[in-house]
Point group: C2
Chain length 270, copies 2
Amino acid sequence: MLDPAFTFARPHCDPPDGFAPSLDAVSGTHPGGRPLQALFLPQVTETFAPPRAIFWEGDKASHVFHVLEGCLRLYRIMHDGRRAILGFSYAGDLLGVASRDIYTFTAEAVTPVRLKRLARHRFDELVDNSQDLRSQRLAAICNEMTAAQDQIMRLGRTGAHERVATFLLDVARRTGADAVAPVEIDVPFRRLDIADYLGVTVETVSREISKLNRDGLISLRGPHKIILRRLGRLCDVARMDVDEPREVRGTGAHLRLVNAHQAASAAFSM
Amino acid sequence: MLDPAFTFARPHCDPPDGFAPSLDAVSGTHPGGRPLQALFLPQVTETFAPPRAIFWEGDKASHVFHVLEGCLRLYRIMHDGRRAILGFSYAGDLLGVASRDIYTFTAEAVTPVRLKRLARHRFDELVDNSQDLRSQRLAAICNEMTAAQDQIMRLGRTGAHERVATFLLDVARRTGADAVAPVEIDVPFRRLDIADYLGVTVETVSREISKLNRDGLISLRGPHKIILRRLGRLCDVARMDVDEPREVRGTGAHLRLVNAHQAASAAFSM
DNA sequence: CGTTATTTTGACCCATGTCAATACGGGTGG
DNA sequence: CCACCCGTATTGACATGGGTCAAAATAACG
């Protein structure tokens, strides 16, 4: 699936990479034996048409899910209606693993979704009986943590350019797109979803995408088909200001890290 | 410690509460028997003077730590020097539990810190041998996830007012301050730390604090001693626009939740 | 006490939000 | 297959929260 060249050159401390593998969604990397996903094999398949919710924020976290097909948005809503999308979930992901008591977000189908479910107590029971599965679950949740940290960094410290570019690259990676120059990606989400995920408005998302289009970094084939033309350039945008390291304000204690990562953007064709 | 009235009324879906119990820091709530923290009892105590780092982002995650005293900032730095503080860690917290391979952030002493450490392999070994401890560790990490989600929501969807007010209330709660009106809290962090945590600039933090001061919601006794005078009002600021719920843009599917939480702010004396 | 780092404040500017109009696209029924 | 419709996306004009730059005030520390 993932071409090794398609690693987006990720120096460990450089966050605006790493698609948020969605906060409570676990991309399936199975170390040795049976992956967590295998636990769902005997279950029946269910189907959810968009925009139906699989579960709601606040519901008792009674099940864990394995997404077989389609994609989902995971979000929370504030008292006054503001919505924040915490992440997206794709085929292969697990859903609800990090929810203990109640679900801390709503999961809603964006495209038609097929999935399997397993009662939480059953899932826990199965996992607890295997050292290997326990370890997998832990690793999975830790990966989610890291993804969440990436997102915190993006939202707190980057501009709209960077966020949108990063988002497109992440979708490409999640999709398992090829690393060769003109990658056509499918973006099933609406602009509002993207906006609520990136912490900006629909208009800003639209404008940034239009700008990338004007500048030739991408082409649009309808709002949901985007062709990434200059991957290298997109990376540059995603990691703004790479060339001109700005002055660091602060203690200086952490200066040890600054400039320790000229490596970066190299990967990716261009 | 925590006055029950001091719960900041947290309806499950309303994020701008919940102090980020720091992303990889575990506040010690021990269900039944021996808490995770007890594992550190036999270890020797180490001391770190600020601004010394306990570990660096990217280091091999060789140990887990238990903070006995003092407080820490946990942060990541981008290639160009921008810093994002992911959270803070206080006495009682565990540190490094959610770091599997390498530490995904730097932990640095803000005040003189005393802590104990345990080799990661040893920690894992001990935890894996007890159903109870495993469960505690899992719960702890899930709490961190929730805290991270809160932060994502704040950074993506709130203004500077809300962020600063929330921050002050969270420090108060973390500190275990009393719920009665004039609460004096100790804020050991510098303004730049707060700024990097809240995703704004130092100047903005300063201005917002000044404004709260002018408006009588708080008083300053030096930049690191803040007296919260109108807790109720602070809560209102932290959850801006409570009274006039704005029109929700979007599918409408999630409308089920909107307005389902007029409860809120009641708690807190005022 | 003087020296330096931190914080506060002011003036100005820009990225992004807001409001509003238009254009597009995908689905439906004729 | 085409025409219409409605939700979504784009674009423009304008407003503003918060960033930036610079200076003054205050606190921290030897």
